[in-house]
């Protein structure tokens, strides 16, 4: 080994160790620290960033008022968060770190079903309430947990609005094809589509789940095209929705309606596919036009406005659900008059309170079932019209009527 090489090696080791300095966080008694783990990198990184923004908005709003008012004293909000790299093991580790190392006062929920699965198990073990606004897989609620809640409905329920909207269309569609990517959240959406399609009297003529890594959708969709369904229902997240729309155009497949479980409500969707995204439907749980109103953010429209002012984009329903989760925990604290520090007994009281809570917020009513899922929330359906997400179902709140059938590719401008 030459001297030169040895020097490089030493420099490498020293360089690597240079980054290895930990600064302990200072503690302060008259504020409330909320900890959460959120994916900022990896497959959920994109969506996790939205969750983070939403919490930041809430914290900023509270701190502008001087903090959360509890029994006449204001407590500023501090967010403590880490990137879980979209890895469930890391997510669990981080929640444990937040609880035992950072000693945060309370927790907020993360994003992504498999991540929240791991994280909520730790929260349950340490008896910290966790309200998630970014995970909705049914299995999360089958565990008999007492400390886990969600402002979203269950994944299979989320798509109900879409199917009910289709049922009311004239002429009523007869046949549906359901496809979706094979990960927990989207496969549950497919099952929801199937269940409600059957209830609505549609004939399900095709049902297929494909691997999330699938590069090219044309073969699969050509097969569906041959079966000629009236409606194509897709269990999707943003990337799947974008790929599906592009593939539909490429193979010239225009069913009378296309509906996605998730994706088109994310601003990325329209930005990416442009005009190709016109007329597609999507399931949603919240839009700014809904007549909801509550403390903290005011109306749904006011939340949208504030969000747009802060981040220059409109919030998606997941972002609203996340902010609503933070608001719900805050209101429960205020109603109970629970001041920090939050001992195990106080957290238990908070948990019990959350089980009986019934509040109205900008996000709509929040009321948790025994299993922790939000039962008060009606699913809605939206459509992309002129590049905008508009609410088309339920009838009493819709902005405009759904456009159906969608013009075939050949008949568009």
């Amino acid at each position: 080994m030459t001297r030169m090489k040895r020097v490089t090696a030493i420099l490498t080791i020293v360089g690597l160790l240079a980054g290895f300095v930990v600064v302990p966080a200072a503690r302060c008694a008259d504020k409330i620290q909320f900890g959460f783990s959120v994916p900022l990198t990896g497959i959920f990184g994109k969506a996790g960033k939205l969750v983070l923004d939403s919490y930041k908005l809430w914290a900023k709003k509270m701190n502008a008022e001087g903090g959360i008012l509890i029994k006449g004293k204001r407590y500023p909000v501090e967010l403590v968060y880490y990137d879980d790299k979209s890895d469930p093991g890391v997510s669990a580790k981080l929640v444990e770190k937040l609880i035992t190392d950072d000693k945060v006062d309370l927790l907020l929920g993360g994003y992504g079903s498999s991540l929240v699965f791991a994280a909520s198990a730790i929260a349950e073990k340490y008896k910290y309430p966790m309200i998630s606004g970014g995970a909705s897989s049914n299995k999360l609620f089958d565990r008999g947990f007492r400390y886990y809640f969600a402002t979203l409905g269950k994944a299979t329920e989320e798509v109900r609005g879409c199917v009910e909207m289709l049922k009311g269309l004239k002429p009523k569609p007869k046949t549906v094809a359901i496809v979706g990517s094979d990960i927990l959240f989207t496969s549950l959406a497919c099952e929801g589509f199937k269940k409600y399609s059957k209830e609505a009297g549609f004939k399900v003529i095709h049902f297929e789940l494909f691997p999330i890594q699938l590069q090219d959708y044309t073969s699969m969709l050509l097969k569906v095209k041959k079966e000629n369904p009236d409606v194509l229902l897709v269990g999707s997240h943003t990337l799947v929705a974008i790929k599906t729309v592009k593939a539909l155009k490429a193979i010239d497949f225009s069913p009378k309606a296309v509906a996605f479980s998730y994706g088109p409500t994310v601003p990325d969707f329209v930005k990416s596919v442009g005009k190709l995204g016109e007329y597609v439907f999507a399931a949603s749980e919240w839009t700014p036009v809904l007549p909801y109103k509550g403390p903290v953010f005011g109306t749904a429209a006011a939340f949208d406005k504030l969000y747009y002012k802060t981040f220059h984009r409109h919030p998606d329903y997941v972002e609203a659900a996340v902010a609503a989760a933070a608001v719900t925990q805050q209101l429960a604290l205020q109603q109970l008059g629970l001041q920090p520090p939050y001992t195990e007994a106080k957290r238990e009281a908070l948990m019990k309170k959350l089980h009986d809570i019934d509040i109205k917020t900008f996000y709509g009513e929040v009321r948790f079932g025994k299993d922790g899922a939000n039962v008060a929330h009606p699913p809605i359906a939206v459509q992309i019209q002129h590049g905008k997400v508009v609410t088309v179902y339920p009838k009493n709140v819709r902005q405009t009527a759904p456009i159906y059938p969608m013009p075939s590719w050949g008949h568009r401008k």
Binding site: T41, S219, M220, L222, L239, K243
Partner: protein
């Protein structure tokens, strides 16, 4: 239905072939399994995306730009990094290219965010329709390019001086050195050329696939399969391997389901390696 499935498969195969040829070249000459390969596709696609978005240049016209950009990137990577490990045990180059993958993919993420982007051209989705068969033009063009590029690369390696130097170095580095070939330069040229044609592939797919910084790894995995099927390091094998894989996937997706097509691909890959490590052509390099 069957004919449509085969056509779709062949067109998909053309896409596979076009981004796998560079992988095969790099492996054939240096024995480097380039895990950062898919990231080169990503860089090529982004080059086209930015030229389209900012300069309104059609993705097909941006091909020379992405080829040049990627040649420089590839040459640099080989010269600065991989040349230093090319003589070490092969594992070193695998892990090294994995490190490069992390760097490129995450730098791209920093620069361009995780947004899903796509190019919507005026002719996007236009297709040839005859006897009920759908043939998208963009894919047909990719298919043509695949044939041209694999053929061109094959001729380049056989007919030009630098091509012969590359082959000589691939066969016997020491001997080539004695004959006056600068191995380091030749390796860097090889990586540069491999990266350039991969960049072209990136431009080609950019008009119909979704572009985002973390798309790379899945392209690397497909390139693995294609190149093993056709024979590792044997350039025309990339075309054959791509077509076989494309048709196979299309047929299973059509007559069975898309999930099985993925399982089957890996199963066949596994069996191929065991029973026919030199690929279907029998001309791959076997260690």
């Amino acid at each position: 239905m069957l004919i449509q499935a085969i056509i779709t498969g062949l067109l998909l195969g053309g896409i596979y072939a076009v981004y796998s040829a560079g992988f095969s070249l790099i492996f054939g000459v240096m024995g480097v399994v380039n895990i950062a390969h898919g990231d080169l596709v990503m860089l090529g696609a982004f080059t086209s995306y930015w030229l389209f978005t900012l300069g309104h240049i059609d993705p097909f016209l941006s091909i020379p730009f992405s080829a040049l950009t990627l040649f420089i990137v590839g040459y640099g990577i080989q010269r600065l990094i991989i040349n230093r490990v090319v003589e070490a045990p092969p594992i070193m180059s695998y892990i090294c290219t994995f490190g490069i993958h992390l760097i490129i993919a995450n730098l791209a993420l920093r620069l361009w965010t995780a947004d899903y982007r796509s190019i919507t051209t005026s002719y996007c989705g236009s297709h040839l329709e005859c006897a009920g068969l759908v043939i998208p033009y963009a894919r047909l063009a990719t298919f043509g390019m695949a044939v041209v590029m694999v053929g061109g690369l094959y001729l380049f390696l056989n007919r030009t001086d630098i091509g012969r130097a590359i082959r000589a170095t691939a066969q016997d580095r020491e001997m080539a050195r004695l004959m006056g070939v600068r191995a380091n330069h030749v390796y860097a040229m090889t990586f540069g050329i491999g990266a350039a044609i991969t960049g072209v592939a990136g431009s080609l797919i950019s008009s119909y696939f979704v572009i985002y910084p973390q798309m790379g790894l899945s392209y690397t995995v497909t390139a693995f399969c294609v190149v093993v099927l056709g024979g590792m390091g044997y350039i025309p094998g990339a075309l054959l391997g791509g077509l076989i894989l494309g048709v196979l996937e299309s047929l299973t997706a059509t007559y069975w389901n898309a999930g099985m097509s993925s399982a089957l691909t890996f199963f066949i890959l596994f069996l191929m390696l065991i029973f026919m490590p030199a690929g279907i052509t029998g001309k791959g390099i076997v260690e």
